[in-house]
Protein backbone atom coordinates (compact mmCIF):
# COMPACT_ATOMS: atom_id res chain seq x y z
CA UNK A 1 0.00 0.00 0.00
CA UNK A 2 1.38 3.40 -0.84
CA UNK A 3 0.74 6.34 1.36
CA UNK A 4 0.19 9.86 0.14
CA UNK A 5 0.78 13.02 2.04
CA UNK A 6 -0.27 16.54 1.37
CA UNK A 7 3.41 17.43 0.58
CA UNK A 8 3.21 15.49 -2.69
CA UNK A 9 1.15 18.23 -4.22
CA UNK A 10 3.39 21.10 -3.13
CA UNK A 11 5.81 22.46 -5.71
CA UNK A 12 9.42 22.11 -4.40
CA UNK A 13 10.09 25.79 -5.16
CA UNK A 14 7.13 26.80 -3.05
CA UNK A 15 8.25 24.50 -0.21
CA UNK A 16 11.69 26.14 -0.38
CA UNK A 17 10.20 29.64 -0.39
CA UNK A 18 8.08 28.83 2.68
CA UNK A 19 11.16 27.36 4.39
CA UNK A 20 13.15 30.52 3.66
CA UNK A 21 10.40 32.72 5.13
CA UNK A 22 10.22 30.48 8.17
CA UNK A 23 14.01 30.72 8.70
CA UNK A 24 13.85 34.47 8.27
CA UNK A 25 11.09 34.73 10.89
CA UNK A 26 13.07 32.60 13.35
CA UNK A 27 16.18 34.71 12.81
CA UNK A 28 14.21 37.93 13.22
CA UNK A 29 12.78 36.63 16.49
CA UNK A 30 16.29 35.78 17.73
CA UNK A 31 17.53 39.25 16.75
CA UNK A 32 14.59 40.86 18.53
CA UNK A 33 15.48 38.98 21.72
CA UNK A 34 19.11 40.09 21.43
CA UNK A 35 17.98 43.68 20.93
CA UNK A 36 15.70 43.40 23.95
CA UNK A 37 18.59 41.99 26.00
CA UNK A 38 20.74 44.98 24.99
CA UNK A 39 18.28 47.52 26.39
CA UNK A 40 19.37 48.19 29.99
CA UNK A 41 18.33 51.78 30.78
CA UNK A 42 19.00 51.68 34.52
CA UNK A 43 22.47 50.19 34.16
CA UNK A 44 23.26 52.61 31.32
CA UNK A 45 22.21 55.62 33.42
CA UNK A 46 24.38 54.44 36.34
CA UNK A 47 27.28 53.77 34.01
CA UNK A 48 27.12 57.19 32.36
CA UNK A 49 26.76 58.84 35.79
CA UNK A 50 29.89 57.08 37.08
CA UNK A 51 31.83 57.98 33.96
CA UNK A 52 30.83 61.63 34.09
CA UNK A 53 32.01 61.83 37.70
CA UNK A 54 35.30 60.15 36.69
CA UNK A 55 35.79 62.59 33.78
CA UNK A 56 34.90 65.60 35.94
CA UNK A 57 37.72 64.65 38.28
CA UNK A 58 40.08 65.09 35.32
CA UNK A 59 38.65 68.52 34.52
CA UNK A 60 39.52 71.85 36.08
CA UNK A 61 36.38 73.93 35.75
CA UNK A 62 37.86 77.30 36.64
CA UNK A 63 39.42 78.15 33.25
CA UNK A 64 36.36 76.89 31.36
CA UNK A 65 34.45 80.06 32.20
CA UNK A 66 37.28 82.31 30.99
CA UNK A 67 38.12 80.24 27.89
CA UNK A 68 34.49 80.35 26.78
CA UNK A 69 35.13 84.00 25.97
CA UNK A 70 38.28 83.16 23.98
CA UNK A 71 37.39 83.58 20.28
CA UNK A 72 40.09 81.17 19.05
CA UNK A 73 39.05 78.34 21.35
CA UNK A 74 35.40 78.95 20.60
CA UNK A 75 36.05 79.02 16.86
CA UNK A 76 37.83 75.62 16.94
CA UNK A 77 34.87 74.09 18.77
CA UNK A 78 32.44 75.57 16.23
CA UNK A 79 34.51 74.27 13.33
CA UNK A 80 34.40 70.76 14.76
CA UNK A 81 30.68 71.03 15.30
CA UNK A 82 30.19 72.14 11.70
CA UNK A 83 32.27 69.17 10.54
CA UNK A 84 30.03 66.83 12.52
CA UNK A 85 26.90 68.49 11.07
CA UNK A 86 28.19 68.04 7.53
CA UNK A 87 29.12 64.40 8.11
CA UNK A 88 25.73 63.75 9.72
CA UNK A 89 23.91 65.33 6.77
CA UNK A 90 25.98 63.29 4.36
CA UNK A 91 25.09 60.08 6.25
CA UNK A 92 21.38 60.98 6.14
CA UNK A 93 21.57 61.68 2.43
CA UNK A 94 23.42 58.42 1.82
CA UNK A 95 20.73 56.50 3.70
CA UNK A 96 17.93 58.29 1.82
CA UNK A 97 19.53 57.46 -1.54
CA UNK A 98 19.91 53.84 -0.53
CA UNK A 99 16.19 53.63 0.35
CA UNK A 100 15.31 55.10 -3.05
CA UNK A 101 17.60 52.61 -4.78
CA UNK A 102 16.08 49.70 -2.86
CA UNK A 103 12.56 50.87 -3.71
CA UNK A 104 13.42 51.08 -7.39
CA UNK A 105 15.07 47.65 -7.34
CA UNK A 106 12.07 46.20 -5.49
CA UNK A 107 9.61 47.11 -8.22
CA UNK A 108 11.95 45.66 -10.84
CA UNK A 109 12.42 42.46 -8.80
CA UNK A 110 8.69 41.97 -8.33
CA UNK A 111 8.07 42.71 -12.01
CA UNK A 112 10.57 40.15 -13.25
CA UNK A 113 9.87 37.49 -10.61
CA UNK A 114 6.65 36.33 -12.22
CA UNK A 115 8.04 36.01 -15.75
CA UNK A 116 8.07 32.47 -17.14
CA UNK A 117 6.25 30.82 -14.25
CA UNK A 118 4.24 27.74 -15.25
CA UNK A 119 1.75 27.31 -12.44
CA UNK A 120 0.03 29.25 -9.64
CA UNK A 121 2.30 27.55 -7.09
CA UNK A 122 5.43 28.58 -8.98
CA UNK A 123 4.04 32.11 -9.19
CA UNK A 124 3.46 32.14 -5.44
CA UNK A 125 6.96 30.73 -4.83
CA UNK A 126 8.55 33.38 -7.06
CA UNK A 127 6.55 36.11 -5.36
CA UNK A 128 7.54 34.89 -1.88
CA UNK A 129 11.24 34.66 -2.76
CA UNK A 130 11.25 38.11 -4.36
CA UNK A 131 9.41 39.72 -1.47
CA UNK A 132 11.79 38.06 1.03
CA UNK A 133 14.78 39.45 -0.85
CA UNK A 134 13.18 42.90 -0.80
CA UNK A 135 12.39 42.62 2.90
CA UNK A 136 16.00 41.65 3.67
CA UNK A 137 17.33 44.58 1.63
CA UNK A 138 15.04 47.05 3.46
CA UNK A 139 16.13 45.52 6.75
CA UNK A 140 19.81 45.93 5.79
CA UNK A 141 19.13 49.58 4.86
CA UNK A 142 17.36 50.19 8.16
CA UNK A 143 20.15 48.55 10.10
CA UNK A 144 22.74 50.71 8.34
CA UNK A 145 20.62 53.79 9.01
CA UNK A 146 20.37 52.86 12.71
CA UNK A 147 24.13 52.45 12.82
CA UNK A 148 24.54 55.91 11.24
CA UNK A 149 22.18 57.43 13.82
CA UNK A 150 24.29 55.86 16.60
CA UNK A 151 27.45 57.30 15.06
CA UNK A 152 25.86 60.76 14.87
CA UNK A 153 24.53 60.58 18.42
CA UNK A 154 27.92 59.42 19.76
CA UNK A 155 29.65 62.20 17.81
CA UNK A 156 27.54 65.01 19.32
CA UNK A 157 28.07 63.74 22.86
CA UNK A 158 31.79 63.33 22.21
CA UNK A 159 32.01 66.86 20.81
CA UNK A 160 30.39 68.28 23.94
CA UNK A 161 32.83 66.49 26.22
CA UNK A 162 35.80 67.28 24.01
CA UNK A 163 34.92 70.96 24.00
CA UNK A 164 34.81 71.04 27.79
CA UNK A 165 38.05 69.05 27.91
CA UNK A 166 39.78 71.52 25.59
CA UNK A 167 38.55 74.48 27.64
CA UNK A 168 39.83 73.02 30.89
CA UNK A 169 43.34 72.85 32.22
CA UNK A 170 44.94 69.46 31.99
CA UNK A 171 45.13 68.04 35.49
Amino acid sequence: MTSTTSNDSIDPNLADAIKHWSEYSAESARNALILFEAITPLKDALQVGDQVVEAMKQTNWRPVTTKLGDPAAFSDACKELAEIQMAALSKWYEGYLQYLKTTQQSSEQLGTALRGVGSPQQALAAYLEASLAIMKQYQADTSKQASSISEIQAAYKAWFQKTLQNFSWKS
Binding site: D44, E54, E80, A87, Q161
Partner: protein
Protein backbone atom coordinates in the same frame (compact mmCIF):
# COMPACT_ATOMS: atom_id res chain seq x y z
CA UNK B 1 0.12 -2.09 16.67
CA UNK B 2 -1.99 0.77 17.86
CA UNK B 3 -1.09 4.46 17.73
CA UNK B 4 -0.46 4.72 21.50
CA UNK B 5 2.07 1.92 21.45
CA UNK B 6 3.92 3.45 18.47
CA UNK B 7 4.06 6.78 20.30
CA UNK B 8 5.32 5.10 23.47
CA UNK B 9 8.07 3.27 21.57
CA UNK B 10 9.05 6.44 19.74
CA UNK B 11 9.20 8.34 23.04
CA UNK B 12 11.40 5.64 24.58
CA UNK B 13 13.67 5.69 21.53
CA UNK B 14 14.02 9.46 21.68
CA UNK B 15 14.80 9.36 25.40
CA UNK B 16 17.46 6.69 24.85
CA UNK B 17 18.98 8.69 21.99
CA UNK B 18 18.96 11.86 24.10
CA UNK B 19 20.62 10.02 26.98
CA UNK B 20 23.23 8.60 24.62
CA UNK B 21 23.94 12.03 23.11
CA UNK B 22 24.19 13.61 26.57
CA UNK B 23 26.58 10.88 27.69
CA UNK B 24 28.70 11.33 24.55
CA UNK B 25 28.82 15.12 25.00
CA UNK B 26 29.77 14.89 28.67
CA UNK B 27 32.33 12.23 27.87
CA UNK B 28 33.79 14.37 25.06
CA UNK B 29 34.15 17.30 27.46
CA UNK B 30 35.67 15.09 30.11
CA UNK B 31 38.17 13.72 27.61
CA UNK B 32 39.56 17.15 26.66
CA UNK B 33 42.95 17.17 28.38
CA UNK B 34 44.24 19.78 30.77
CA UNK B 35 46.73 22.35 29.52
CA UNK B 36 50.16 20.97 30.32
CA UNK B 37 53.15 22.77 31.83
CA UNK B 38 56.20 23.18 29.60
CA UNK B 39 58.56 25.35 31.63
CA UNK B 40 58.07 28.19 29.13
CA UNK B 41 60.00 31.45 29.30
CA UNK B 42 57.20 33.69 30.59
CA UNK B 43 59.34 36.88 30.59
CA UNK B 44 59.34 36.99 26.77
CA UNK B 45 55.65 36.61 26.12
CA UNK B 46 53.86 38.49 23.35
CA UNK B 47 50.32 38.79 22.04
CA UNK B 48 48.50 39.62 18.82
CA UNK B 49 44.93 39.73 17.60
CA UNK B 50 42.45 40.90 15.02
CA UNK B 51 39.58 43.33 15.70
CA UNK B 52 38.01 42.45 19.08
CA UNK B 53 41.03 40.16 19.49
CA UNK B 54 43.23 43.22 18.84
CA UNK B 55 41.40 45.26 21.50
CA UNK B 56 41.85 42.29 23.83
CA UNK B 57 45.51 41.99 22.83
CA UNK B 58 46.02 45.63 23.87
CA UNK B 59 44.33 44.93 27.19
CA UNK B 60 46.40 41.80 27.91
CA UNK B 61 49.57 43.52 26.77
CA UNK B 62 49.12 46.68 28.86
CA UNK B 63 47.67 45.01 31.96
CA UNK B 64 50.37 42.32 32.16
CA UNK B 65 53.26 44.26 30.62
CA UNK B 66 55.77 42.80 33.08
CA UNK B 67 55.83 39.55 31.10
CA UNK B 68 55.39 41.11 27.65
CA UNK B 69 57.96 42.04 25.02
CA UNK B 70 55.63 43.14 22.24
CA UNK B 71 52.24 43.10 20.58
CA UNK B 72 50.62 42.86 17.16
CA UNK B 73 47.43 44.88 16.77
CA UNK B 74 45.48 44.24 13.56
CA UNK B 75 42.51 46.60 13.19
CA UNK B 76 42.21 47.40 16.88
CA UNK B 77 41.75 50.54 18.95
CA UNK B 78 43.67 51.85 21.95
CA UNK B 79 43.61 50.44 25.48
CA UNK B 80 40.42 51.43 27.39
CA UNK B 81 38.88 52.75 24.14
CA UNK B 82 35.31 52.10 25.35
CA UNK B 83 35.93 54.66 28.12
CA UNK B 84 36.60 57.42 25.58
CA UNK B 85 33.50 59.60 26.01
CA UNK B 86 31.72 59.68 29.35
CA UNK B 87 28.26 60.59 28.02
CA UNK B 88 28.17 57.40 25.95
CA UNK B 89 27.81 53.96 27.52
CA UNK B 90 30.75 51.59 27.20
CA UNK B 91 28.95 49.50 24.59
CA UNK B 92 27.95 52.60 22.63
CA UNK B 93 31.55 53.84 22.59
CA UNK B 94 32.81 50.37 21.68
CA UNK B 95 30.50 50.12 18.66
CA UNK B 96 30.85 53.68 17.37
CA UNK B 97 33.87 55.65 18.63
CA UNK B 98 36.11 52.57 18.72
CA UNK B 99 35.08 51.21 15.32
CA UNK B 100 33.94 53.84 12.84
CA UNK B 101 33.56 57.31 14.37
CA UNK B 102 31.60 59.87 12.36
CA UNK B 103 34.59 62.21 12.02
CA UNK B 104 38.22 62.00 13.09
CA UNK B 105 37.81 64.48 15.95
CA UNK B 106 35.33 62.26 17.82
CA UNK B 107 37.34 59.06 17.56
CA UNK B 108 39.03 57.47 20.58
CA UNK B 109 39.81 60.07 23.27
CA UNK B 110 43.48 59.20 23.61
CA UNK B 111 44.53 62.00 26.03
CA UNK B 112 41.90 60.81 28.55
CA UNK B 113 42.73 57.13 27.96
CA UNK B 114 46.41 57.77 28.69
CA UNK B 115 45.48 59.53 31.94
CA UNK B 116 43.17 56.71 32.97
CA UNK B 117 45.82 54.09 32.14
CA UNK B 118 48.40 55.99 34.19
CA UNK B 119 45.96 56.07 37.12
CA UNK B 120 45.38 52.32 36.87
CA UNK B 121 49.12 51.65 36.81
CA UNK B 122 49.63 53.91 39.81
CA UNK B 123 46.97 52.05 41.77
CA UNK B 124 48.52 48.69 40.85
CA UNK B 125 45.48 47.44 38.94
CA UNK B 126 47.69 47.07 35.86
CA UNK B 127 51.47 46.80 35.49
CA UNK B 128 53.68 49.86 35.15
CA UNK B 129 53.42 51.58 31.77
CA UNK B 130 57.22 51.96 31.85
CA UNK B 131 57.46 48.27 30.93
CA UNK B 132 56.21 49.14 27.43
CA UNK B 133 59.06 51.49 26.58
CA UNK B 134 61.52 48.83 25.39
CA UNK B 135 58.95 46.67 23.57
CA UNK B 136 58.24 46.19 19.87
CA UNK B 137 54.79 46.81 18.43
CA UNK B 138 53.15 46.04 15.09
CA UNK B 139 50.01 47.88 13.99
CA UNK B 140 47.93 47.29 10.87
CA UNK B 141 44.93 48.99 9.30
CA UNK B 142 43.61 47.92 5.88
CA UNK B 143 42.80 50.71 3.42
CA UNK B 144 39.42 49.08 2.75
CA UNK B 145 38.56 48.41 6.39
CA UNK B 146 35.21 50.08 7.12
CA UNK B 147 34.62 48.05 10.29
CA UNK B 148 37.49 49.42 12.39
CA UNK B 149 38.70 52.42 10.44
CA UNK B 150 42.24 53.76 10.14
CA UNK B 151 41.18 56.78 12.25
CA UNK B 152 40.79 54.40 15.20
CA UNK B 153 44.06 52.50 14.66
CA UNK B 154 45.86 55.86 14.35
CA UNK B 155 44.83 56.47 17.96
CA UNK B 156 46.30 53.11 19.02
CA UNK B 157 49.58 54.37 17.59
CA UNK B 158 49.09 57.70 19.40
CA UNK B 159 48.36 55.91 22.69
CA UNK B 160 51.56 53.85 22.58
CA UNK B 161 53.61 56.91 21.61
CA UNK B 162 52.06 58.85 24.51
CA UNK B 163 53.04 56.19 27.06
CA UNK B 164 56.63 56.28 25.86
CA UNK B 165 57.06 53.63 23.15
CA UNK B 166 59.65 55.07 20.74
CA UNK B 167 58.66 55.58 17.11
CA UNK B 168 61.50 53.29 16.03
CA UNK B 169 59.99 50.43 18.04
CA UNK B 170 56.70 50.56 16.17
CA UNK B 171 55.81 49.34 12.70
CA UNK B 172 52.49 50.73 11.49
CA UNK B 173 51.31 49.45 8.11
CA UNK B 174 48.46 51.37 6.40
CA UNK B 175 49.57 50.62 2.86
CA UNK B 176 47.59 47.46 2.01
CA UNK B 177 44.20 47.47 0.25
CA UNK B 178 42.87 44.99 2.80
CA UNK B 179 39.37 44.73 4.18
CA UNK B 180 38.66 43.92 7.82
CA UNK B 181 40.62 40.69 8.08
CA UNK B 182 43.74 38.87 9.17
CA UNK B 183 46.15 38.67 6.24
CA UNK B 184 47.68 35.54 4.73
CA UNK B 185 49.48 34.52 1.57
CA UNK B 186 47.02 31.78 0.71
CA UNK B 187 45.11 31.84 -2.60
CA UNK B 188 42.31 29.83 -1.01
CA UNK B 189 41.44 32.67 1.40
CA UNK B 190 39.12 35.59 0.59
CA UNK B 191 40.31 38.32 -1.76
CA UNK B 192 42.35 41.05 -0.09
CA UNK B 193 39.91 44.03 -0.23
CA UNK B 194 36.76 42.26 0.96
CA UNK B 195 35.25 42.11 4.42
CA UNK B 196 33.44 38.82 4.88
CA UNK B 197 33.58 35.70 7.07
CA UNK B 198 35.88 34.09 8.05
CA UNK B 199 37.79 37.41 7.89
CA UNK B 200 41.03 35.83 6.69
CA UNK B 201 42.21 37.45 3.42
CA UNK B 202 44.88 36.66 0.88
CA UNK B 203 46.97 39.83 0.47
CA UNK B 204 50.16 38.10 -0.67
CA UNK B 205 52.04 38.16 2.64
CA UNK B 206 51.88 36.25 5.90
CA UNK B 207 50.87 38.73 8.60
CA UNK B 208 51.78 36.28 11.36
CA UNK B 209 55.38 36.25 10.05
CA UNK B 210 55.53 40.05 9.93
CA UNK B 211 54.12 40.36 13.47
CA UNK B 212 56.58 37.90 15.00
CA UNK B 213 59.43 39.45 12.98
CA UNK B 214 58.61 42.82 14.48
CA UNK B 215 58.34 41.55 18.06
CA UNK B 216 61.30 39.17 18.30
CA UNK B 217 64.84 39.91 17.04
CA UNK B 218 66.63 37.33 14.87
CA UNK B 219 63.47 35.51 13.89
CA UNK B 220 63.76 32.69 11.35
CA UNK B 221 61.44 32.13 8.36
CA UNK B 222 58.54 29.72 8.84
CA UNK B 223 59.22 25.98 8.97
CA UNK B 224 57.96 23.75 6.15
CA UNK B 225 56.40 21.21 8.51
CA UNK B 226 55.19 20.95 12.08
CA UNK B 227 56.90 18.59 14.47
CA UNK B 228 53.80 17.92 16.56
CA UNK B 229 50.04 18.34 16.54
CA UNK B 230 47.92 21.27 17.58
CA UNK B 231 46.45 20.34 20.94
CA UNK B 232 42.95 21.02 22.20
CA UNK B 233 42.79 21.65 25.94
CA UNK B 234 40.16 22.25 28.59
CA UNK B 235 39.90 26.03 28.89
CA UNK B 236 37.09 25.88 31.43
CA UNK B 237 39.46 25.16 34.34
CA UNK B 238 40.81 28.71 33.98
CA UNK B 239 37.38 30.31 33.98
CA UNK B 240 35.81 31.34 37.26
CA UNK B 241 32.71 33.16 36.05
CA UNK B 242 29.45 32.04 34.46
CA UNK B 243 29.20 35.12 32.26
CA UNK B 244 32.57 35.07 30.57
CA UNK B 245 31.54 33.68 27.14
CA UNK B 246 34.75 31.62 26.81
CA UNK B 247 34.52 28.21 25.13
CA UNK B 248 35.10 24.91 26.90
CA UNK B 249 37.98 24.11 24.57
CA UNK B 250 40.96 26.19 23.45
CA UNK B 251 44.10 25.30 21.48
CA UNK B 252 47.86 25.35 21.86
CA UNK B 253 50.73 24.49 19.55
CA UNK B 254 53.90 23.31 21.25
CA UNK B 255 56.82 22.38 18.96
CA UNK B 256 58.49 19.07 19.88
CA UNK B 257 61.62 20.83 21.13
CA UNK B 258 59.52 22.93 23.54
CA UNK B 259 57.76 19.83 24.83
CA UNK B 260 60.88 18.05 25.94
CA UNK B 261 63.93 20.22 26.47
CA UNK B 262 63.79 23.91 25.56
CA UNK B 263 62.29 26.74 27.58
CA UNK B 264 60.29 28.42 24.83
CA UNK B 265 58.69 31.84 24.60
CA UNK B 266 54.90 32.17 24.39
CA UNK B 267 52.83 34.04 21.81
CA UNK B 268 49.10 34.45 22.45
CA UNK B 269 46.96 34.82 19.29
CA UNK B 270 43.43 36.15 19.76
CA UNK B 271 40.78 35.66 17.08
CA UNK B 272 38.23 38.33 16.17
CA UNK B 273 34.41 38.33 16.35
CA UNK B 274 32.77 35.38 14.55
CA UNK B 275 36.22 33.77 14.35
CA UNK B 276 36.30 31.37 17.29
CA UNK B 277 36.76 27.65 16.66
CA UNK B 278 33.07 27.19 17.46
CA UNK B 279 32.30 29.27 14.34
CA UNK B 280 35.16 28.77 11.83
CA UNK B 281 36.92 25.62 13.03
CA UNK B 282 40.71 25.66 12.72
CA UNK B 283 40.85 28.56 10.22
CA UNK B 284 42.41 30.95 12.72
CA UNK B 285 44.37 28.68 15.03
CA UNK B 286 45.49 26.30 12.29
CA UNK B 287 45.73 28.25 9.04
CA UNK B 288 47.12 31.72 9.67
CA UNK B 289 50.78 30.74 9.59
CA UNK B 290 51.56 31.21 13.27
CA UNK B 291 52.33 27.56 13.97
CA UNK B 292 55.00 27.22 11.28
CA UNK B 293 56.65 30.36 12.65
CA UNK B 294 56.42 28.86 16.13
CA UNK B 295 58.04 25.67 14.85
CA UNK B 296 61.00 27.53 13.34
CA UNK B 297 61.51 29.82 16.32
CA UNK B 298 60.75 27.70 19.38
CA UNK B 299 57.59 29.54 20.31
CA UNK B 300 54.54 28.12 22.06
CA UNK B 301 51.35 29.37 20.39
CA UNK B 302 48.35 29.80 22.68
CA UNK B 303 44.89 30.28 21.15
CA UNK B 304 42.26 31.09 23.82
CA UNK B 305 38.69 30.90 22.51
CA UNK B 306 35.47 32.88 22.89
CA UNK B 307 32.08 31.71 21.69
CA UNK B 308 28.83 33.53 20.85
CA UNK B 309 26.29 33.99 23.63
CA UNK B 310 22.79 35.38 23.01
CA UNK B 311 22.09 36.46 26.60
CA UNK B 312 23.86 36.90 29.94
CA UNK B 313 26.42 37.73 28.76
CA UNK B 314 25.21 39.48 25.62
CA UNK B 315 27.88 38.55 23.08
CA UNK B 316 25.99 37.41 19.97
CA UNK B 317 29.00 37.63 17.66
CA UNK B 318 31.49 35.84 19.88
CA UNK B 319 33.76 38.87 20.40
CA UNK B 320 36.38 39.36 23.10
CA UNK B 321 35.28 41.66 25.88
CA UNK B 322 36.42 45.25 25.43
CA UNK B 323 33.31 46.98 26.82
CA UNK B 324 32.41 44.95 29.90
CA UNK B 325 29.89 42.33 28.78
CA UNK B 326 31.50 39.70 30.99
CA UNK B 327 30.23 41.57 34.09
CA UNK B 328 26.63 42.07 32.89
CA UNK B 329 25.23 43.37 36.17
CA UNK B 330 28.01 45.78 37.00
CA UNK B 331 27.59 49.38 35.75
CA UNK B 332 31.35 49.85 36.20
CA UNK B 333 32.66 46.57 34.77
CA UNK B 334 36.30 45.56 34.83
CA UNK B 335 37.42 44.35 31.40
CA UNK B 336 40.87 45.92 31.40
CA UNK B 337 42.81 45.15 34.63
CA UNK B 338 44.57 42.15 36.20
CA UNK B 339 41.23 41.18 37.68
CA UNK B 340 39.14 41.31 34.48
CA UNK B 341 37.47 37.89 34.03
CA UNK B 342 38.81 37.10 30.55
CA UNK B 343 42.25 38.63 31.15
CA UNK B 344 42.86 36.68 34.33
CA UNK B 345 41.76 33.46 32.61
CA UNK B 346 44.30 33.97 29.81
CA UNK B 347 47.01 34.96 32.27
CA UNK B 348 46.41 31.74 34.19
CA UNK B 349 46.89 29.78 30.95
CA UNK B 350 50.20 31.56 30.34
CA UNK B 351 51.43 30.83 33.85
CA UNK B 352 50.44 27.18 33.47
CA UNK B 353 52.61 26.92 30.35
CA UNK B 354 55.49 28.44 32.31
CA UNK B 355 55.27 26.01 35.22
CA UNK B 356 58.00 23.36 35.36
CA UNK B 357 57.41 20.34 33.14
CA UNK B 358 55.60 17.57 34.90
CA UNK B 359 54.13 14.15 34.32
CA UNK B 360 51.01 16.00 33.26
CA UNK B 361 52.87 17.29 30.18
CA UNK B 362 54.07 13.80 29.36
CA UNK B 363 50.66 12.20 29.72
CA UNK B 364 49.00 15.03 27.76
CA UNK B 365 51.50 14.63 24.91
CA UNK B 366 50.80 10.92 24.75
CA UNK B 367 47.04 11.32 24.82
CA UNK B 368 47.16 13.99 22.08
CA UNK B 369 49.46 12.05 19.84
CA UNK B 370 46.87 9.74 18.35
CA UNK B 371 43.78 11.86 18.78
CA UNK B 372 44.66 14.89 16.65
CA UNK B 373 45.90 15.06 13.14
CA UNK B 374 45.65 18.77 12.40
CA UNK B 375 47.83 20.99 10.27
Amino acid sequence: MNFTSITARLRTGILLLAALLTFTAVNADASTPRLAAYGADIRHTSVSGLSSGAFMASQLYVAFSHIMVGAGIVAGGPYLCAKSWSLNTLMFNATTTCMHPLVKGVGPNTPLLVKLAAGLAESGRIDSLDNLKDDKIYLFSGKNDRTVTTTVVDQTYAFFRAVGVPEASMKYDRSVDAGHAFVTNNDADSQCPVTKPPFVNDCDFEQSTVILNQIYPDIKPPAKHLSSEIQAFDQSEFVDSDTISMSHTAYVYVPAACQTRKSCRIHVALHGCKQGAAVIGDKYYGQTGYNKMAEANDLIMLYPQVQPSAASPLNPQGCWDFWGYSSPNDPDPDFFSHNAPQLRAIYKMITRLAEPRSDLAKSTRESHHDVYNLK
